[in-house]
Structure formats: structure tokens, C-alpha cells
């Protein structure tokens, strides 16, 4: 089984306002669930749903003929707080199935001229050949607590990322672009992250993620983000901690997306060195 954590980002700039209107998928994203050729079994689960608006509160909804109902489906309120507007609108342990080849509709009801973004985290239990490396919190935590040969090896690696200014993805930045301290040949578990500005979604993609974009929603309350992937794993009793090999640092990229123009944003990934090569399935 080759599980994959990934995301779909959707955006609209300059809303018409006063009624629900559709958001479009960001570049190279698709609102259509990957086909597994089996319509009777969930293809994936929507595990997280985040939204942001750059200037006012709004409503957001996700629906399709097979997701909720084909009218408003899952509908939620999005608060606005200047500087900290990015927020979760789906329960922490609520995972809603999505179905093979189904096309999701993402809509918002906001104020005219506003910019709006929505991020959905999806988990596919099996995409053959994807090769995304994920570990469980139960595997990673004892390693952190035990140290490696008398040393603690949990690093914070800083990458400065500038989310796109039009609600779409910004320029991707290599993991080692600003802070190159990973030890060659070693695997690292990405346990969480912190940012100096809230951002709707920082994405990590590279050889170790199967080139799928692993989402990192960066809210103002960093108790959520500092151990985000460990919590994701604990909540679901399943592997959700990305494993990245140091040799792939130059081909592992981070990018950002938000309705708000945050500008250059410092992101620090908390990475725990593993003493042995991660074999998967743990």
C-alpha cells in the first residue's frame, strides 16, 4: 500500500460578492479526485479544510453529487482577523470520504473585490507507485526522545518562501536554499514547522513525497503547527510524518499560497534525524 498525503488549493481573486461563486483549482491542481477505478470504495479522505480571505469574513462550501449534497454540501463560516485570518473549518478528527473521479465544487460567499482561498488536505490510502515516505508518530517520537549516540538531533531548517500574489502558488524554493545543515545520507522526519507570518498553505514536494504536495497550513497559533505531522499521525493512528532524505534537499521544494499577500515568509521545518534509513511501513 502506498499512502499519499496531498492537497488541493482553490482560489478566486476579486470576488463578485453577495452570493456563492466558484473557486478554481490552483496551477496543476485539480478538483477531480484521482481515479482508483472503484466507485464503491472511498478513493481518499478529506482530512483538513482551511480557508482565508484577505479583507472580510465569508462562507465557504465544498460539495458534489457524492459529497454532501449537490447544493451546498459541507458549508462553514470563515472569520476575518487582520493578519491571522487563516483557519481550519473542518474538525480535527473528522475525515470525510471522497470518491474516485468525483469532481468537487469549492465555492465562497463573500464581499465584492475580496480575494479568497480554500485548501483541502486529502489522504489516498493507495496510489500505486507513488513512493511517498510517511512514518507514524509512534515510530518517530521514541527516536527523538532517545537521541542519537548521545546527541539530540532535532533541527529547525529555515526556508524563506513567498506565496503567490494572485492567490496561486508562488515561486518554489529548495529546502536548502537558505539554511543548508542536513547531514548527507541521513533520513529526517519532518515533525512540524513554524512561520513568522500565518500562511494558508506551505507545500513540500520532492522525491520523498512522490512529488505530491504535502500541505503545511501555517496558522497563528503555533501549538498547532510545531508538531503538526505528529498530531496528524496520532489523530488517525496512521502514518502521516513525511520522511525526507538529506541527499534530496536541493530537489525538495517549498511553495506557498494564500489569499493574503504575506510577502517573504520565513518557514522553519522541524526535522528529526533518524539514525537508520527509513524502510517505510512504520
Amino acid at each position: 500500500m502506498s499512502g499519499v498525503v496531498t492537497c488541493i488549493n482553490a482560489f478566486k481573486q476579486s470576488l463578485t460578492g453577495s452570493s456563492f461563486e466558484a473557486l478554481a483549482a490552483c496551477t496543476k491542481d485539480s478538483l477531480t479526485v484521482i481515479s482508483t477505478a472503484n466507485p464503491s470504495v472511498p478513493a481518499a479522505w478529506m482530512e483538513e479544510l482551511f480557508a482565508s480571505n484577505h479583507a472580510h469574513k465569508m462562507e465557504a462550501e465544498v460539495f458534489s453529487q457524492r459529497f454532501g449534497d449537490n447544493q451546498n454540501g459541507y458549508r462553514a463560516e470563515v472569520q476575518f482577523r487582520s493578519g491571522t485570518t487563516q483557519q481550519s473549518i473542518l474538525g480535527r478528527t473528522v475525515d470525510i470520504p471522497v470518491w474516485s473521479a468525483d469532481t468537487l465544487n469549492v465555492q465562497v460567499n463573500g464581499t465584492a473585490s475580496d480575494n479568497a482561498n480554500v485548501m483541502m488536505q486529502l489522504y489516498y490510502p493507495n496510489i500505486p507507485g507513488a513512493g511517498q515516505r510517511l512514518a507514524t508518530a509512534a515510530y518517530v517520537e521514541p527516536i527523538i526522545q532517545g537521541g542519537i549516540a548521545g546527541n539530540s538531533r532535532v533541527l529547525g531548517i529555515e526556508v524563506t518562501v513567498t506565496p503567490g500574489t494572485t492567490g496561486n502558488y508562488g515561486t518554489a524554493v529548495a529546502l536548502n536554499a537558505n539554511d543548508d545543515r542536513l547531514q548527507a545520507d541521513y533520513d529526517y522526519a519532518v515533525i512540524g514547522y513554524s512561520t513568522d507570518t500565518p500562511v494558508l498553505c506551505i507545500g513540500i514536494s520532492g522525491p520523498d513525497t512522490g512529488f505530491y504536495r504535502v500541505p503545511c497550513p501555517a496558522m497563528w497559533d503555533q501549538r498547532w503547527t510545531a508538531d503538526w505531522f505528529l498530531q496528524q499521525s496520532r489523530w488517525r493512528n496512521s502514518a502521516r510524518v513525511p520522511i525526507i532524505n538529506a541527499n534530496n534537499k536541493a530537489t525538495t521544494f517549498l511553495d506557498g499560497v494564500d489569499a493574503v499577500n504575506t510577502g517573504a515568509t520565513k518557514v522553519t521545518l522541524f526535522m528529526a534525524q533518524l539514525p537508520n534509513k527509513f524502510q517505510g511501513g512504520q
Binding site: H54, T165, G263, A264, K266
Partner: protein, 104 residues
């Protein structure tokens, strides 16, 4: 007690309330406040401090921000800073909304 008949007579006047000067309400001191663009000076810390780079905008220029400053005793005192991209974005959408309202 004898009284000198030649002493000038004085008529005791009833005491008059002392006139206090009218108290003017104090005028608050005001200081000029302005919003200015300044470089943030933020840096990357790279590899044990061997080298530092300024954080730059995508156009390559040093990152800037809006700073709210008060001029006190001839010195600009920073009060608060604001993200330049965020405010520029708010200004653009307000301008678009205003133009829509006037043309609609």
C-alpha cells in the same frame, strides 16, 4: 483703650472674594504621525553565521515594510510596523471597490 481722635478712620469693608484668574483648559500637545516605507533589514542566518543575506522581495530589492512613526523632539519614534504586501493588497481592493461603486 484710648482712641486717637486724629487717626484716620477706616471703614472696615466686608471682605470681597478674591478673584481667581480664569483657568484655561490645557491644550494637549500633539505630535506629527506618518506612515513611511523602511527596509526591514531581515536576514537569513546561514550555516553557523558564516554569511548573512538580506531577505529580498521577488524583484531582488531589500524587503521593505510600512512603519507608523511619531516625530517627538525631532526624532522619529517607531510605533508599529505593517506588512507592505498586505496593506498594498488592501489598498488595491479598496480602490477597486470604490471605482465599482462610483461607476455602478
Amino acid at each position: 483703650m484710648s482712641v486717637d481722635p486724629n487717626a484716620p478712620t477706616t471703614t472696615e469693608q466686608p471682605s470681597q472674594p478674591t478673584e481667581q484668574p480664569t483657568e484655561q483648559p490645557s491644550q494637549p500637545t500633539s505630535y506629527p504621525v506618518s506612515l513611511v516605507v523602511v527596509e526591514t533589514g531581515r536576514q537569513h542566518g546561514v550555516s553557523g553565521g558564516a554569511s548573512f543575506d538580506l531577505i529580498r522581495d521577488e524583484d531582488g530589492n531589500p524587503e521593505t515594510e510600512y512603519a507608523l512613526v511619531a516625530t517627538i523632539d525631532g526624532v522619529n519614534v517607531p510605533l508599529q510596523s505593517f506588512s507592505r504586501p498586505v496593506l498594498d493588497q488592501l489598498a488595491a481592493s479598496e480602490k477597486a471597490r470604490t471605482q465599482t461603486d462610483t461607476s455602478g
